[in-house]
Subunit: 402 residues, 4 copies
């Protein structure tokens, strides 16, 4: 049953939830099973182990919570920090804002470093603050790797260099919700202490898993962290990991089989390196289209360009919400609206997850049509052509078909 049926496929170009490919739908098409049977730990261990590859870690411990990204945030914070702890966090868009709001409600002492929406984290200011913090009163640095509302990717390697340069022991907590599994992520190399993502983004699964990886240092911190947590407590998971039954409460077998299929697609069939290259290719193509349309990115500098979502600024006389509406009403194209202070000013094209070149080109053609509908005089085909030109050069043969 569909509430607003339309012929053909929905073109899902919000920056998550993303398209669920058939192999994942197939893997999930199953009844429940007994999570206490011997079969279950086999499945569980395989995904708990393999999911670490998309985080770029062998050293960390992963926790797969039956929750969303918001729950994963809460798990990350409460397991390593104590109420009153001073933390630095960057406000660069709606999702960093929401995380900061959560931090405050969890009673941390948040030093918010704000940037324009469209800019990346102000790392110069971070450097200054860390350098000045001789007492190491700053317990954590929290950063969103990819700000989904503005299409801004922060440079985590640089954050690590700043922490190391200041010889500062603060924990590094990273929201990788719209990056991990799509963008290069090196948890071990960047010495990220807690990283997290959600299932409905790069993994192309339904919503329902909040995946958190904790470095050995984070696990150590968890032992003394005083924030209250029960459902989100890593300690319960660690206890059941030891027991071999893995789960402190009933997991979703469907989601775990789905995760297994997703990891197989990413790690075995396509290869993580190729997945990341594909996201870069699609991101570049999208940006070239935006340029050809004569529009500007919300992202203020190329160094912050996001390969998973592109936020496009519309001329001031146009309401970006109208573009999103007409795209859905006429072309069955789902775009992202502008959120909060950039509502009406930007629309967003998500290009992450299990997605390919022609799907993107179809969507870009749809954006052009929607732009025309709201009165923006785009040259039809212009963005598509620019994207095509890039893709022609950048797209390799499909590995399995060479």
């Amino acid at each position: 049953m569909d509430y607003y049926p339309a012929p053909g496929r929905n073109h899902l170009f919000v920056p998550g939830p993303t398209n669920v490919p058939e192999p994942i739908l197939r893997a999930m098409n199953r009844s429940n099973e007994d999570h206490r049977s011997p079969a279950f730990p086999k499945l569980s261990k395989s995904v708990i182990e393999d999911v670490k590859q998309i985080f770029g870690t062998t050293a960390a411990t992963s926790f797969i919570f039956p929750t969303t990204g918001t729950g994963a945030w809460e798990s990350a914070l409460t397991n390593v920090l104590s109420p009153g702890d001073k933390i630095i966090s960057f406000l660069i868009g709606q999702f960093s804002l929401l995380w900061i709001d959560q931090m405050k409600r969890l009673n941390f002492d948040v030093d918010v470093i704000e940037s324009d929406w469209g800019a990346g984290a102000d790392l110069a200011l971070l450097k200054k603050k860390l350098s000045a913090d001789y007492a190491h009163s700053i317990k954590g640095v929290c950063i969103v790797h990819n700000e989904t509302s503005t299409g801004v990717t922060n440079d985590l390697a640089a954050v690590r260099r700043i922490l190391d340069g200041a010889r500062h022991p603060a924990l590094l907590l990273v929201d990788g919700v719209s990056s991990i599994g799509a963008l290069d992520f090196q948890m071990d190399e960047w010495k990220v202490d807690v990283a997290l993502t959600g299932s409905q983004k790069a993994l192309s699964l339904p919503t329902g898993l909040g995946i958190v990886c904790a470095s050995p240092r984070a696990l150590e911190a968890a032992k003394t962290a005083k924030s209250l947590r029960v459902f989100f407590d890593w300690a319960d998971y660690l206890k059941f990991y030891k027991l071999g039954s893995i789960w402190p409460y009933t997991p979703s077998s469907q989601m775990l089989y789905g995760l297994r299929a997703s990891l197989d697609l990413i790690l075995k069939e396509e290869g993580l390196h190729n997945v990341i290259a594909r996201h870069h290719r699609l991101g570049e193509a999208t940006r070239k289209a935006v340029h050809a349309w004569g529009l500007k990115l919300c992202t203020q500098k190329a160094e912050w360009n996001s390969d998973t979502v592109t936020a496009v600024v519309v001329p001031s006389h146009i309401d970006s919400g109208d573009i999103v509406k007409i795209a859905w009403k006429k072309y069955n194209l789902s775009l992202g609206v502008g959120l909060n202070k950039i509502a009406g000013k930007v629309f967003r094209i998500g290009h992450l997850g299990n997605l390919n070149e022609l799907q993107l080109l179809g969507a870009l053609a749809g954006v052009e049509l929607a732009l025309r509908e709201v009165g923006y005089p785009v040259t039809l085909g212009s963005g598509v052509a620019a994207a095509q030109a890039h893709l022609q050069r950048a797209t390799p043969l499909i590995t399995s078909r060479i």
Copy 2:
């Protein structure tokens, strides 16, 4: 399990099998059931009755065979004709050729009216032959409504006018495999005696149902037709229709539930009139793209343009098969090859079934990329832009979303 996995969706633009939309996949996602239970006739009767709407008939009787289009052909011919019967048939492409081949093997005396591949049926010659047939020795006229290999749609109303003009009693048999459910089809108005289609085309189902509609005259003819048939015999169906158990042998419940879902999509959700308009819109858009690319249609005159498949002629130094290959290998785009005597000379873009504007535009963008790969100097975006321009004008708001 996929043999040649690739990220993202397969872009299925062969002229059948077509994309199976999620509501149909959902309807079919079920175990077997007892076809002798009281539930089964309810389902069966509903589809046997409603499927007639896409044939444009209330007078005819429908038969849903567990077979393919080839089987439906055989059922159509053997139920109304006798060995040695003289019939006229038009050879205008690969599928009419295959049907004629079947006619010959079934021992009919086939008078083949051949046209160039790319031309429609030579109706002038038909007129002449019928007019000359004072003895009414011609028992049937067999015509493919839409020749899938060349993208040619024949004018069935004109055929009827010729038959009526000649006051000729020959039965009119129509292959509507790639037309019925997508193109306007008026079985009653055109006094078609036998019309048939297959499930994997406009109905967007898996292969497996060959659907045949027989006019009252055809049913009458069936009583005396001497062609041998058992599996494909209408009489067995008619017997079980009367008994209320409908099926002379075990049907596929999954396919019937799928057909029910397909008919709901076409007749209730979108509306048959809108479905046909959508096919016309997508057909026009495709032809405009071909023109913009500087290429020619295989279809020789606009009156024969097909709204379900477009066959594109490539320059003589290019092998159209290479376009199809690279589209699949690099862009996960499935196009139709040229068949038989036009192999290497044309490729085909199917645009039928449950499909929308942006899916088509993505595919057209893919064709442009494939053309470039084989050295044809297409201007990227040119065909997309031409198609977009048409679609912008011709596409209505999605009914459920107004």
Copy 3:
């Protein structure tokens, strides 16, 4: 892919997760969709509203959390209570124990009323404590409606009578994880303030939804409750309910479509009253089988009999875990083990969710075989016969088939 494949169906008779019927699997067999589209609130509102029927409430507000029962517990407690609040809770088995453990970790002052595992809540003691609490220092009474580990159902109407008799204003919080949707539950009549369940039990869905209903009094209490909560905060939901976008973070569309299908099965197709009667019938049949086997229920008195799970005590020389193991290894039958202090002493037969008489009889036959395997001299067919005798009398014709 299955880790321990076996021919035929798995006989899933753990007391949750339960069998997911085909209509729910079909409803969930879909890709992601944009949760910000106009379609989403339609679906969301329908389930948020209709789910209240299985709670027996029109007055309460429902919250559908992407979590498990454990998360629902946390949401229930933290939204209406403050740290240090004195609450009474009943320890009668493993799940009440786990909830109490959570209460303690959440810093409530829990007065635990313990019973034997197999007995119900000690309501006499509750009465005494409430009567003595002139100061109304007790802020909440927390009770598990149906203790899944022992097969004990508590009498909630009696609890309400005691509270009312004592004119005590304590909030009444009820874990209905293995009861709501299967047992009679009258939230409004019993003046339950917070009731909760999980999707993988009576609703026959995958794990992933923790559903909490809050009475007007509970909502009022939530305004001043000082327990820290963010992910589980009702206030965020209430804010988005008002805005009409419903969800403070991304929901699982698949689970919501599944919930819609589940509610349709329960409320429309079978009827809640019939669902409850069916559970009673299956529970009685199971208990008659246990008696015929010469075994004892863990449940100590008939008044506490559970219609969703039966815990069976095995003779002391037998390890109940061996029964569970051999049932799975030889007959693909999944039974529940004994938990914690009754490990090895009881095994459990879950009989809740979308399940019918012959499924149960097959499982009872399997239990008999497993009992024989471990050396218990059960008469084959004895329990089945006892259950059959009851079912023959108690089972009505299937409503749709009369």
Copy 4:
């Protein structure tokens, strides 16, 4: 959407269509794909090759027709015989009757050897006829391996011995619709010339594939056989086998992926030998139950007992159709009715396909309840107990779980 919904699983115990297990449903849960892509021959060749294992042949050539068993019959007959050919066929029940009817309509000269319904083929008479046929005017012997209407399995090895003993060159054609993949079948050893089955029986697939295997001798005979065939002509398949594109017309990709999954379950996961042993075990258990009920098998001698279907004779004052009706109306149990001359006199329990012990025991319990409903004084549990006793002895541990 279900027409007569009922809680819990349908207990499908008709002798086909059979239960489709989840791995097959998952494999089939997919959109269409281009059958001309390079992926398709890979899949096609794998199933064309592997399906021969369930026929017990390496020498034969297999043809997978998009049809039903009835179509497979027609394909078998028309490819190796010519009109007027004298053939011997055995009439022992409804399905042999229907096949004979088809033979007559196809203009063969059928010498029908009739037996009581419940008896096997009269092989003594066959011997006599063959021995007397010095001229070798008998071109074929057609036999149903397992007569689905009466639960009678014929001894094919004996048939071969008789043919060999008489040094008679008649072709041996076998209907294995309800046997192949469930009963021991040795096409090569028994020198069967044409054997056939349908997908909805032992293979546990939906209806839609008619699978025919032809021995080298049969292929040779096909070269000169004069029966008219087009859709069912092996020659077209052989042509496309050589070309490597395999299919003369569009196949169902879903059914082929399903067949791949089915063969994997049978050949790899369980093992064909174990599958056959399981069917024997379930058949024996069912027969022991019938005996315990005080009822008689339709099968007249033990040597003809069928391990895929048991036909049970009811006392003369009972209408077996009432048993089938009440089983469906009250217990969601689907049994087979008596067909044709044994209508009302027998009901049938199918026990083939992907099925296990406890599923069968649940169904047997249901049969007992249905028997009581129609007034037959069965002792509840008696048949279940008899079946259990057998299964306890005969059932091995599940291979993957040892």
